[in-house]
Amino acid sequence: MEKEKMVKELNRLIGKESVLGTDMQIQLYEYDASLIRSKPDCIVLPTSTEQVSKVVKFAHDNGIRVIARGAGTNLSGGSISLQGGIAIVLTRMNNILELDIENQRVVVQPGVITLNLKNFLAKHGYLYQPDPASEKASTLGGNIGENSGGPHCLKYGVTSNHVLGGELVLYNGEVVQIGGKALDNPGYDLSGVFVGSEGTLGIMTKAILRIMPKAEAVKTMMCIFNSIEEGGDTVSAIIADGIIPATLEMMDNLTIKAVEEAYNMGLPKDAAAILIIELDGLSDGMERLTNRILDICKKHHVREIRVAKDQAERDKIWAGRKGAFGAVGRLRPNYMVNDGTVPRTKLPETLAKVIAIGKKYNLPIANVFHAGDGNLHPLILFDERDADELKRVHAAANEILKVCADMGGTISGEHGIGVEKIHGMQLICSSQDLASMRNVKVAFDPDGTYNPGKVLPELQKTA
């Protein structure tokens, strides 16, 4: 369908205040936090499930592709309109619909910003656990699409562990309810397979999330190392000792320097690695557990340990970690974030290989990662205007994916496959595995209306 006609029809369907179609407007939605760019034909900003449903039905009936989008913080090109069509931006559906403390649930629209929900719940003494680093900007709908993680997922699990159901708009505009506030509804775990499907199966217009009372005590410590190997070994040693803290985060020297230069928070710029370890739970026994962790750090020649004395100090430690991507972003015009994940015992070995890859391609790589989960985030720094450098970046990124796959790991822990890693899917999935996933796609979206060209590579036809 021609663009003008599409816009006109959409204006009629949901009102022109909810439709954007000028070139300038479209340009604002042609990118996310990855390097990939592609324009939708037009943008709609619905305010209700009914409007989403109308738009999707219209698109489906006319063979137009649809992509759902939140704040555009996606790191793998998942929210880019590869084949044009309509981008449904859900940021106006940003209401917390129901706080149900008695049942420990909250019902939200997809456009609610993650941190807004957390701040809202904190006033009532409750927590929604997932805490992606982009929580200040990212939407819950986006978190659900990507199955986002975050530091506290080490203990509390990722987004899908906290999504119990919701409302879906299917490929033809039909609206269905899946899961619910109660656990164990009979049937397949549709929420389980939907979360992390990167907008390829449907649009969740309402989500039911689990909330929990906040922990009695929290202890946050920063452990500074002179060697990155010893930092990595410490992580493995803590887990192997049977301690699962709430978080076990790590930053390398390049990141530490960047964070310090950006925020000036007193980090030693010559340190090789910093671990941020947080414990939470009951206060009883926490002191002893802290000491056990500190003993392990000492065995691995920790240089300095800083234990946060109060909330302000804790916030300061976390501000550095959560702002790390931003700080590293100041070093060069562009960065590419890798998201490979390995069994946590393979962390030191993988890290060494990542460093070697940086050297081989002559590219600076900053490492910030969820060490306790074995989830690396090497940030490859470059300038996209330099064609040769860009080529080396892609080669290095691919090599890192391969290293992670070879280590018995996977190519994405929490940022998604999107477009960026779609060619890597064959590193970890057989054609039978992919065919099985393709069946799920077709069951949900038989005509391929939603987010084409993402997650699943085209299967090679076998005779």
Partner: protein
Amino acid sequence: MPQKDQLVSALQKIVGKANVIQGPKKLKDCAVDGLVPKAIVCPKNEKEISKVMAIANANKMTVVPRGSGTKMAAGGIPRKVDLVLSLSKLNRVVDYDKANLSLSVQAGITLAALQKKLGAGRKGNFLPLDPPFTEKATIGGIVATNSSGPKRYIYGTARDMLLGIKAVSPDGDIVSFGGKTMKNVSGYDMTKLMIGTWGGLGIITEITTKLLPLPEASATLLLSFGDLEAAGKYIRKIIHSSLLPSAVELINGAAADRLGEKSKYLLALSLEGVVEAVARQITEISESSKKEGAKGVKVLKGTKEKAFWVRVRDLGSDLAKKYGSPVILKSNFVISKHVELMARCEKITEAAGVRAAFICHAGNGILHTYILDKPGAGAKLKGLIELIGKLTLEAVKDEGNLVVESCPPEMKEKISVWGQPRHDQILMRRLKEKMDPAGILNPGRFVGGI
């Protein structure tokens, strides 16, 4: 379909003569709701399963996967039972990565045998699942039916622990999803999709899961209450506090009696973790519960504690030993309704003149109803059918549903074992049709007759 002997010889070629069972008694033992299979096949590995499935698929023969057979009285009546596929020979630990706290294990191993292996040594680990049939339940069966127990309150269920699944699809493809990393968003979360599908989308042959270190200390508090209202108030206080019990079980008098405890309503709280936290919770809960109306407080530790939780888990399996297919119901509901729903269900069963034991995972919104009378026949059976209808409506009122976990086949013809139909059935049906187009895996046994 080929002749039976042709089929048998084809199967024998794949798994060996001794592993195709045809003895009439054994076949009868593996009947599902009275439907006797043509053969029981016991493959030794995925490759054999793959070949068996390819034959079954090509010939539209239905296959019922089976672990140790603890769930055979559950689910809808199958449309057809051609083959029972036993996973009992797939019972190997594939990869126990102690330092990574992960484990890959084949489906046929029992959870009990596995826990023994994991718990051995100075720093033992465990898989935090505690479903019914403590000794018999296999890993594959637990995952395929998403079976859980009291301690899900703190540890969650299979969906929270599993990292990966290996399965054989209905057409014989061996597929592998997830892996041994703690996080994985590479493609769809097929692991979660496979959990609780009753083998309807593929035969689960291996799982990979997170493990947890064994807790330093544990104790259980048994608080006895004279009325449900006081118990309910106290449960609310506990689950909205920062205290961290690992199980919050509300048990009625009839159930307590079977557990060897005397109490009108018993609240069992399991405490696990570091020594100091367990000790403090014992003191704090003992004191505060008395103030809130608990009439007695008992602390269980060591073997007595372990035995108590085994009895809780196995109340249903003990009934099964007695009656074959006892009536066991599972209601789910929003968590705040723990005592309200139990009170209503108690009243309704009493009015129906039926004796029932109730055990509620009060922090998770799951109520198990164990009918203590023999299901019987005639008017008695009719009464039970009516009762199930009423109890289903009660759970639906509280945003849940009711699943009949066990009942005699003659009853199944007249009830919906999966509760009231739900809005999302359409998606489930499409998934089943896409993934098992010939409809050979456990057809008819799952929700909505898929």
